[in-house]
Symmetry: C2
Subunit: 357 residues, 2 copies
Amino acid sequence: MKIHNFSSGPSILPPEVLQKASEAVLNFSNSGLSLIEISHRDASFVEIMNSARNLALELLNLQDKGYSALLLQGGASLEFVRVANNLMKVDGKAGYINTGNWANNAKNEAAYFGEVIEVASSKDKNYSYIPKNIVVPNDLDYLHITSNNTIYGTQFKDFPENNVPLVCDMSSDIFSRNLDFSKFDLIYACAQKNVGTSGVNLIVVKDELLDKTNRSIPNIMNYKKHIERESMYNTPSVFSVYVSYLTMKWLKDLGGIAAAERRNLAKANLMYSEIDRNSLFYGTAAVEDRSVMNATFFLKDESLTMAFDELCSSEGIYGVKGHRTAGGYRASMYSALPMTSVQKLVEVMQYFETKVI
Amino acid sequence: MKIHNFSSGPSILPPEVLQKASEAVLNFSNSGLSLIEISHRDASFVEIMNSARNLALELLNLQDKGYSALLLQGGASLEFVRVANNLMKVDGKAGYINTGNWANNAKNEAAYFGEVIEVASSKDKNYSYIPKNIVVPNDLDYLHITSNNTIYGTQFKDFPENNVPLVCDMSSDIFSRNLDFSKFDLIYACAQKNVGTSGVNLIVVKDELLDKTNRSIPNIMNYKKHIERESMYNTPSVFSVYVSYLTMKWLKDLGGIAAAERRNLAKANLMYSEIDRNSLFYGTAAVEDRSVMNATFFLKDESLTMAFDELCSSEGIYGVKGHRTAGGYRASMYSALPMTSVQKLVEVMQYFETKVI
């Protein structure tokens, strides 16, 4: 049975990426050795790392604009700390917009290193919307935004005007839509949604932003050190870097972010149309803030949960349960998800409606 | 041509591990989905994570002895920071034994968090030996030792008497020899030598050691938090965890550490016998401190370098160049390396001798 993978991350990857990654585990580049047992200093892997870093800048249209790209271990949760370490001055102050669990975690981890203020929040309505008309103080070391809130299905469509360095956690929507990425000073993303699989983070940072705080930080936390060492300060997560390289290359061959955005909008439009049409379901995110990546929805009658879960399972729909803190359902529609999977889920929701009513 | 993989890490893995890992990238456990695109909260992966953590304790004979095992991202270089964060009291003091680059890096990273003293060092002779008769002060928050020095080919055979918590970076010799592991309070290792492939670290820590410092540390740096969340505080490096699980299971089926030790000693004996016998080569590590994992050696006549490199290459010998800071040659003989590969390298060295002389 064909499985339709709506997992929120780790999440669906293009079949050709999985095929090449699987082959490389047995025999990388006709070397007679596995990708995962060669030295990371081997010329063949150094080329992968460099190509991956360049591809990231190319896809974001940030080549030759004073940015560097890194692929580091640790998960986005480690970048919460690295960002504060690298950008928050001693006795400085950072601003965070609290639009969900991850945004809140980022803020809390930064608070270990200095003053952190909540510039805006949507916690009052269980993170179901994106705050508007945000006034950003001018005395911040940086402003931190989580562009897409995976758990709650909300997404920034416009970013607040500001005169401070702008840091964005794009873990769940990087490479999915066109933005003027040069408006951001630092972008980071865990790989396991739109970049590749878990085990590596992409960081894209404006070089001139770094080394300005006088804060004394360990080398492993220091973006400048990682840039000097071309993302090889310590042994990288070789397999995860390779999967990111393959996925970014797939995206480039597809037509880059512009092509991904068209596909993603079409999928999201179909999905939200059905959530709004179907008499059994309702969405919770404010309509104007709905995420193109993660559509969250609930059954009006919760007693139907088991029946709908069983139907999904029997029809090959995987990973639509909502986050354990949010409940309900969530269809994650990252760039690698084909339109046919959304069509299938919509058909299943329609069939369920005819069966129940 | 059969390739003999002497890489220092990422390094050789058992063929059956590579086969299973490659298959899982296409279809994990007959799910119709790839291992690297399912949720890390999927029951099938949770079972892998739990099994891997249990296997680590079982192999070290530390089950039911108050230890916990974690598999976290970041590389050993991140554990340098985590160890200091979790164990060094505010205004406390830690002791480090400086037996090589990595030991020195561990010390330098810890120095960002408090006073660090060098309890002993072998830097005076380019790290070619292990310091003896070490006197460990009683007022340390912990003593840090690097059990095997990959770059220089030295290894602690006995560990110094001490009355403080003992922390050991076993990145390059964990699971390779029998020790009384209960003498250690915290053991950590990057996976890419004897545990699996890069992208994950194994940490084994005595529970009672934690949460004693009053130091305020971010969640992502907090071992206690990771233990509470069963090594799933944030998304793990799924593929690397799976490869570690497969490799530890392979080791258990082989007969555990005792069996690995027998194999490893036999390989090292053959290798060092040839280094000592062959008139073209010499070893640099003090004989009594020679590493069973990494044999370092040099050509007496450096003008023969290109010829020997070409011979190795043409005979399928991969990864024997020494670390870029040390030069010469290094044969890494981790547990997955078969005896036949050492025999091949020895034959090549013998043939080279007959050709030159």
